[in-house]
């Protein structure tokens, strides 16, 4: 077995150094394939069990570029492995078998295999596997652009309503567009422009995407599957494959955001010493510093990349009792992600902020806040108030929320510091809850956000998380659900509902308990979401001439967010199992 060491691929000599994971229960074939791949100058890692393979993949989400797997394996059906890999890691998977029956090959393709090789396999077939990696990267970049495009549209729509905010948007929009164009050109030898390439595929319009998100939320992220989503969406012309690929991208998007958050979070200096975050620390930069009490809830730090806004780390550990809310609100201009530690109730599943239309988008406030550079420093949590970016078209009725947000009153749980009244939102365009959902567009304001940060659509509707605190606010949908956290975020969504009652969400709700305002209590484990840091922005650097090389990092990044458990491992296991149980 060769340990690849998980080094980064040598992009400059691509495809040499391509990191391949080979899974086959036949030791003879494993040896042969390993040798063949090495001869192609690829970095090979071998596995004879599907579970081992999955573990390896999960351990280092960006450790591999492509997976080659046999169809017949004793511990797990190759097709199942294929699905897991596609969903969790979004890596290209090649199937192999001695059986070349059409039905089998078809099944492979249906499950998402990017190729199906017949044994005995020739060297020349293996030499070309890099094309699948390349193709995926290009498609991904394009998809992201298209997603961003949606967001840009959203933003521009509402942007016009904004005063000074508008300029923010337009800049972003312009720059984003520029990036997009550049990107199109960049890899556009074969692809004309974005629109024309879109012709060949399903165009995920805003509405369609929102339906998708809604369906995902409804099903529960941990139980999501393309078929279920498709059924719920009830769009006759949409196929399961369309949904499956969109789901993959969505996850990728979320995980990227999370990564971004991560990086940003690292800037946040707030450390909450008293409650050493268990695992989240690892994953969410700053946020981790927030106290994450694993005991009962998993605190997830929810961080939004915030360019110069304040607070980035709002650790709200309002959790049932024992968290101390060390909401430290880092000064404004830290570009960091707004991290909110939200200890979720035990059953909290989703620590992510879900921007879900259905929920009072308090989150949007949050999210906005984070993005909004104009967030007044004074409000720790306030990111929310800044809904500068009114998500286009969705006036978030944050005004209400914020206005009512009680100021720092003794929190039940956390002593978050930001008990400051949120800055008047009135200046912001009101965003109704419903609209918020998609928009938490974090685009923005961060200067630091390289790239488009959060241009991706908000997978989850923004929920007003006004008071989540003690109530065990569960799901704060983060705009970005990281991939790994998929299950997680979905969880939160699912749990969200019951919690919602308890939580004072939204508009008009007395936010009394909300002082934590934006305490987003993340249900355990699902904090991933928040950590969609700006880290992921990296890959969005379309203008980068070395785009190609960037791309891999893009997907590596996306996948990178992996196991760092944010929350109590016991809790997280739920999530983990949700999606990943083979």
């Amino acid at each position: 077995m060769v340990e690849s060491g998980f080094s980064s691929p040598r992009a400059d000599v691509f495809p040499a150094g391509l990191r391949v994971l080979v899974v086959d229960d036949d030791p003879t074939w494993l040896k042969i394939l390993e040798k063949m791949l090495k001869k192609c100058s690829y970095e090979v890692t071998t596995c004879c069990l599907a579970r081992d393979a999955l573990n390896k993949l999960r351990e280092k989400k960006d450790g591999f570029d492509i997976v080659i797997s046999d169809v017949n394996m004793p511990d797990m059906d190759g097709f199942k492995l294929l699905e897991h890999v596609g969903l969790e890691m979004d890596l290209p998977v090649i199937m192999m078998s001695v059986d070349g029956e059409t039905s089998r090959v078809m099944k492979g393709v249906q499950h998402g295999a990017c190729d199906y090789l017949l044994k005995p396999i020739r060297m020349k077939e293996l030499r070309n596997i890099w094309q699948h990696v390349f193709r995926k990267r290009i498609h991904e970049v394009r998809d992201i652009e298209s997603l961003e495009g949606l967001e840009i549209i959203h933003m521009t729509r509402s942007g016009s309503d904004l005063s000074d905010d508008g300029s923010l948007f337009s800049e972003d929009t312009t720059s984003a567009k520029k990036r997009k164009d550049a990107e199109s050109k960049h890899d556009g030898k074969d692809f004309t422009d974005l629109s024309s390439t879109k012709k060949a595929r399903v165009v995920w319009s805003v509405d369609l995407h929102q339906k998708f998100v809604k369906a995902v939320n409804q099903i529960g992220f941990d139980k999501v599957g393309p078929k279920k989503i498709l059924d719920l969406m009830n769009v006759p012309w949409l196929s399961r494959e369309n949904v499956a690929s969109h789901l993959q991208k969505y996850r990728l998007y979320l995980s990227r955001l999370q990564k971004e958050n991560d990086t940003k979070n690292s800037f946040l200096g707030t450390k909450h010493a008293d409650s050493p975050p268990k695992d989240s620390a690892g994953s969410f930069g700053l946020k981790n510093s927030t106290n994450i009490h694993q005991n009962d809830v998993s605190c997830g730090s929810y961080g939004f990349p915030v360019s110069n806004s304040l607070v980035q780390n709002i650790d709200i550990s309002g959790h049932e009792g024992d968290q101390k809310g060390t909401a430290s609100v880092p000064g404004a201009d830290t570009k960091g992600a707004l991290s909110v530690d939200v200890p979720g109730p035990h059953k909290a599943t989703c620590s992510q902020m879900c921007f879900d239309r259905s929920f009072a988008p308090i989150d949007s406030a949050l999210s906005y806040a984070s993005f909004d550079s104009t967030i007044p420093t004074g409000y720790p949590w306030s990111g929310i108030p800044e809904i500068q970016f009114s998500q286009e078209g969705k006036p978030l009725d944050l005004d209400n929320c914020f206005n009512q947000l009680p100021l720092p009153s003794p929190q039940r749980h956390s002593q978050t510091e930001y008990r400051q009244p949120p800055p008047p939102i009135s200046s912001r365009p009101s965003i109704t809850e419903r609209d918020v959902s998609t928009s938490v567009d974090v685009k923005p304001s961060f200067d630091d956000c390289r790239g488009n940060c959060i241009n991706h659509y908000n997978p989850f509707p923004v929920q007003k998380s006004q008071t989540l605190t003690s109530q065990g606010f569960e799901s704060i949908s983060a705009t970005t659900l990281n991939m790994k956290g998929q299950g997680v975020s979905l969880n939160c969504l699912t749990d969200w509902e019951p919690v919602q009652k308890n939580v004072n969400w939204g508009i008009g709700a007395p936010f009394a308990p909300l002082d934590e305002d934006l305490q987003v209590y993340w249900l355990q484990g699902d904090c991933y979401a928040m950590n969609l840091g700006l880290q992921n922005l990296d890959f969005i650097d379309y203008n980068d001439p070395t785009l190609f090389t960037e791309v891999p990092s893009l997907f590596y990044d996306a996948l990178r967010f992996d196991h760092e458990p944010l929350f109590d491992p016991a809790e997280s296991s739920v999530i983990d199992q949700g999606l990943f149980i083979a």
Binding site: T28, N72, V98, K119, M123
Partner: protein, 150 residues
Amino acid sequence: MERNQQRRQLAVMRQSLFDQEYLDEQFIQLEELQDDANPNFVEEVVTLYYRDSARLIQSIEQALEKKPLDFSKLDGYMHQFKGSSSSIGAKKVKAESTLFREYCRVGNGEGCIRTFQQLKKEYTTLKKKLEAYFQLARQVGPAETACRPK
């Protein structure tokens, strides 16, 4: 020279394995993979194959003794076996495997048993031939074993 004679002998041996269809081009692929880093690659692979497939042979044998025959199980084993055999280019063995699977598909127990006997014969014959081949190859010297195809 003896060495030259041996080399010639080796070449002849090798060629006959192909001519008699004991081996197919997959074997050549293996030879091409052999290099300084793995000078005995082919032999290692073949050894691995025989070791691993022995247990499959045994499982099939046991399954064939059960009454009634579980064809899907037999087919499963044979599928694995066939895949393995394809790795070294064991042509005749592979052919028997395919036939065996056909008999499984139609539920012909007799056919399965008969074919399996034949398969075992081919399997053992090939093993002996390869053993002799590698033995000679080792004598001749590692550089000689991989004969580039014409």
